[in-house]
Symmetry: C2
């Protein structure tokens, strides 16, 4: 059934994927969106591939009940380890954040040296390295896990002395490796852009997978003839439905989420997936 008015489904381990939703809303303001944050089981970045795959399948099954036309895996860890399984298991169009970020980094680098920062599970998976090498095998890719970045963002210490010290420690080896492009391989990291840029210097280009993923969503919807055109054809603008589901109680998600989305969050329902 081809129905372009169906919603987009987006899931993340928690609030980080809201940075992806934010970019999708910017590029595709007419689309209805359903966002699922698995807040009762977050974070994914310290869990095993096996467990993250299990959670990703459960999240996808849940969103499919709402007749979504496309799924965005808006979590780097889940994208890194579960995308192939999800593609095999489910028959809907699927976009992860890794491929978009990898492609953008490959275009951006001039010296052929790209750094990737992310959670332990994302870096261990080498998903970015594989995605970049599949575009250009001559590029050197250097990965660095930054486990404290997520808790620092959640604490709200963004452009902060302590955060800059932590960034300094994590990023020194990447700086010594003379990369010219650095992929922010976790949806929390765009909130640390300023601290990371300060440590890396202006010569290093930061790649925000959220923006790249949104462009890719628009491209795929266009190619599949699934773009929602109803808004642009009509004179009376109505705000499309935006629904949010979380697996833990909504309070914290509502409070912290608006910082990630850049607007107030309404309509958050608690659901049980476990």
């Amino acid at each position: 059934m081809k129905n372009e008015k169906r919603p987009l489904g987006i899931f993340d381990s928690g609030i980080g994927g809201l940075t992806v939703l934010k970019e999708i809303i910017k590029l595709l303001p007419e689309e209805e969106t359903l966002y699922l944050g698995d807040t009762a089981r977050l974070p994914y970045g310290t869990k095993s591939e096996e467990t993250v795959i299990k959670y990703s399948i459960e999240n996808t099954r849940f969103l499919l009940k709402y007749n979504i036309k496309l799924l965005v895996v808006a979590c780097n860890t889940a994208s890194a380890v579960s995308l192939p399984v999800l593609r095999k298991e489910f028959s809907l169009p699927l976009i992860g954040v890794i491929e978009a970020g990898a492609r953008a980094a490959t275009k951006a680098t001039k010296n052929g040296r790209i750094g990737i920062i992310g959670t332990e599970t994302t870096i261990r998976s080498s998903a970015y390295t594989k995605a970049i090498k599949s575009v250009n095998p001559d590029i050197t890719v250097i990965g660095q896990p930054c486990p404290l970045f997520v808790p620092l963002v959640e604490e709200g210490w963004l452009n902060d002395d302590i955060t800059i010290s932590v960034a300094g420690r994590y990023l020194t080896s990447l700086r010594n490796d003379r990369i010219d492009t650095l992929v922010l391989g976790c949806t929390h990291y765009p909130l640390l852009k300023s601290a990371i840029q300060k440590v890396m210097g202006d010569g290093v280009r930061l790649i925000d997978s959220a923006e790249e993923t949104a462009s890719e969503v628009r491209e795929l919807l266009t190619n599949l003839g699934l773009i929602n055109l109803s808004g642009s054809e009509s004179d009376t603008k109505t705000t499309p439905v935006r629904r949010y589901f979380v697996t833990d109680v909504p309070v914290r998600f509502e409070e912290q989420g608006s910082r990630f989305l850049g607007e107030k969050i309404y309509k958050v329902d608690k659901v049980d997936l476990g």
Copy 2:
């Protein structure tokens, strides 16, 4: 059925509770122990009371299958929010880490001013405050959440400049409040004792709930006639069975856990509770 050879059950959200197990082994070396770390759903400290209670019930049900004679809730967050529910729901002897720590702090303070540090959910619950006030309502209790302490411990940055800066920021108000006793209200925090003591100064006594909990376990087992005497009666020493269960794959638990337990960890099985 009174059988003093049955094992002790211990659960925690992950590895932190191993600091409690370590003290139990020290005091009660003959007892068999079953430890469950809910590593697929950790941490508990940022989750809601509702979700932590649900997980605690599932953990208890799992351990009960192994015919345990006593349950230790070796997680401050789980103890803070779920102990009353567990006591209502299950009929076995139950010990949490809060009451033991609260009692020890009440004995230790001279100026009647006690600080509590812990996760957000533990501090929000005011469980320590209630436990201390029930012993002595005149004591002033000041709580302070320290969300970055757990990730810092897991990163292994223990006696580290960055950790001391973070501790400085979290603990300044407690220092200004002139407390003389500080409860380490999270099983990860004993690993930061040295950094915390440096910030608080030698005048402040740190209370480690793990040690206090182990004493309370011995006391309760003695009072109930459930102490395992088989080892001390026999001339041939056999090491009692120590089993470990985790909900995520065991690798990380085995690697990190030995730092918390102070000895190598064997016999870790993955189980599914969700």
